[in-house]
């Protein structure tokens, strides 16, 4: 059985990755999951300097999912490289570093700082986090801005670049095409869907940030549809995510056209989720007589 997949020349032992921001750099979940089992660990977003993030409450539960407005709190790329990348050195998995920024220059600073880090297999660029008010929202929501930042990052990056697309757009195909045209090696989607929750007794927003990104099982059908549309719009590999909780969900995304998939909020409900999905996909392939995972990619 062959579960391995290839993205921009990087071979993953299986298509299961972690979704940025839900898994730290793997340290916290290594109590539950053997990181060597995973296709890739995608780290929490890292910026050029430490970010404080948003005030609390930062998270809220909603029907079938949750909202988060963490505000991309992170220790900055220097600490990240020395601590988090060092921790990941010992594992036989691919490392994809998620990069965030408030200006194009911020992103480029991180990309350049990581360019000679051997432990970094790929970069994933967050251009859509709705938590950051200071302009980052524009990169992922306008095709020309997305094209521009992708092109600039590609000029500097030494590792393959995955552009992580926002679902908060009119046409995901248009965004996917803009990223591909600018030279992106792959795209990943969907980031969280912007939502809001109001406490009717306190007569206030539940999140201090008012809005938050929605994730969890409730967003899955939207994500499957967008992955399907994006994978038909471009030739570069698509990494699918959004509400994946079990192997059935993972297979659904692969059938929609995803080369790899990422597990996010499900980690909070089930800290063993990633490893269980790897095992579930293997079992499914055996039962269904599938020799290579590529056989079912985009099969619908």
């Amino acid at each position: 059985m062959n579960t391995s997949v290839e993205i921009a020349g990087v071979k993953l032992k299986n298509p299961v990755m972690t979704a940025s921001g839900t898994f730290g750099s793997g340290m916290e979940y290594s109590d539950f999951v053997d990181l060597n089992r995973l296709g890739a660990v995608v780290t929490k977003g890292v910026a050029n300097i430490p970010w404080e993030g948003n005030p609390v409450p930062r998270v809220a539960e909603v029907y079938g999912g949750m909202l988060n407005a963490i505000g991309l709190q992170n220790p900055g790329v220097e600490v990240f490289a020395k601590r988090d990348l060092k921790f990941l050195e010992g594992f036989d998995t691919k490392v994809i570093v998620n990069v965030c920024g408030k200006t194009v220059e911020d992103y480029l600073e991180v990309v350049e700082r990581l360019s000679d880090e051997k432990r970094v297999d790929m970069l994933e660029i967050n251009v859509s986090c709705p938590n950051v008010k200071e302009g980052a929202i524009a990169f992922g929501q306008k095709a020309d801005a997305l094209f521009d930042i992708t092109k600039k990052i590609k000029e500097k990056a030494k590792q393959p670049v995955i552009m992580k697309l926002s679902p908060n757009v009119t046409s995901i195909s248009e965004m996917a095409k803009a990223a591909e045209a600018a030279g992106a090696d792959a795209i990943s989607l969907i980031n969280t869907i912007t939502g809001m929750k109001i406490d009717i007794y306190k007569k206030k927003f539940v999140l201090a940030n008012r809005t938050g990104g929605m994730s969890g099982p409730a967003i899955k059908p939207v994500a499957v549809r967008m992955v399907y549309e994006a994978s038909h719009a471009v030739k570069i590999p698509v990494i699918g995510m959004g509400g994946i909780s079990n192997y059935e969900d993972a297979v659904e995304f692969i059938m929609a056209g995803a080369t790899a998939i990422a597990v996010g909020a499900a980690n909070f409900h089930n800290p063993y989720a990633t490893a269980e999905i790897v095992e579930g996909i293997e079992r499914y392939m055996t039962e269904q007589g599938i020799g290579d995972i590529g056989e079912i990619r985009g099969i619908v």
């Binding site: 430490p50 993030g53 609390v56 930062r58 539960e61 949750m66 909070f268 063993y272």
Partner: protein
């Protein structure tokens, strides 16, 4: 067995302790590893819910095979928990967080202070303090509990381990007012404080401790998602740059929930 796990927990008993307050005993494999002040994440079975509910551990049984949770029904998740019967199974994640630093009470007059649903974790704290031997033993253990009214819970159980003082907001039992009012009115002897309760109470305790020049260890609460330090949902403001975050935010779930009051920016 040590380390965190998500596992099935058999319900041994459940009863109503006070209005909206439930008393639940769960058999869990990690009970003997629990440090007072730690908590568990309890998962509702309802598929529409995703996140564990953080609930403090009130007591560990003498065999080290079960934990006691005393919780208030505040929403649909805890309302579901209240329906569980002996023999049912629940899913829990634990043990989570760091407990109270009991060694700081050695040779001192220790006071555990709880407010409302912050009272439960202090029961195991008081129990362990009372069991400390020799030079580790506190010189004295007092417990100060604050409630809204005379519909109190757990206060009677503290009498086994501590000298008990009660404050009620409506004055129907003990000192009228809050826990600080009770400390002052009853002149509670105090060299070190372990406390859990609502933020205004904890702020008051920090101010009281600073005024007296004593140490206070405070257990905080915040909305959480992962419970294991990955999501950064449940942070609190710290005075200095935190070692993990490199900004002035510490994770309540893993760096806490108990903090030295001097380290917090409240």
């Amino acid at each position: 067995m040590s380390g965190k796990m998500k596992c099935e927990a058999k319900v041994l008993s459940q009863e109503l302790l006070s209005e909206g307050i439930y008393d639940l005993w769960l058999q869990v494999p990690f009970a003997k590893d629990v440090v007072p002040g730690q908590f568990v994440g309890v998962f509702p079975l309802n598929k529409a819910t995703l996140l564990p509910r953080p609930i403090s551990i009130c007591e560990v049984d003498t065999n080290g095979s079960a934990i006691r949770l005393v919780y208030r029904v505040v929403g649909s998740g805890t309302a579901e928990f209240a329906l569980y019967q002996p023999g049912d199974y629940m899913m829990v994640l634990g043990p989570l967080g760091n407990g109270f630093p009991l060694d700081k009470a050695a040779g001192k007059r220790a006071v555990v202070i709880g407010g409302g649903i912050g009272v439960p974790p202090l029961l195991e704290t008081a129990k362990r303090l009372s069991k400390a031997q020799g030079s580790k033993a506190p010189a004295k253990i007092s417990a100060v509990m604050g409630y809204r009214n005379s519909d109190t819970f757990l206060d009677d159980e503290f009498t086994n381990f501590a000298e008990v003082y009660v404050a009620t907001e409506d004055g129907s039992l003990g000192t009228k007012g809050n826990v600080i009012d009770a400390m002052k009115e009853q002149d509670v002897p105090c060299d070190v404080i372990f406390a859990c309760g609502p933020m205004p109470m904890l702020r008051g305790i920090k101010a009281y401790a600073q005024e007296k020049g004593i140490k206070a260890y405070l257990s905080l609460e915040e909305r959480m998602a992962c419970g294991v330090g990955a999501c950064l949902g449940c942070v609190c403001k710290t005075k200095e740059v935190d070692e993990h975050s490199h900004v002035k935010n510490a994770r309540i779930c893993t760096d806490g929930p108990v903090f030295d009051a001097d380290d917090l920016d409240m």
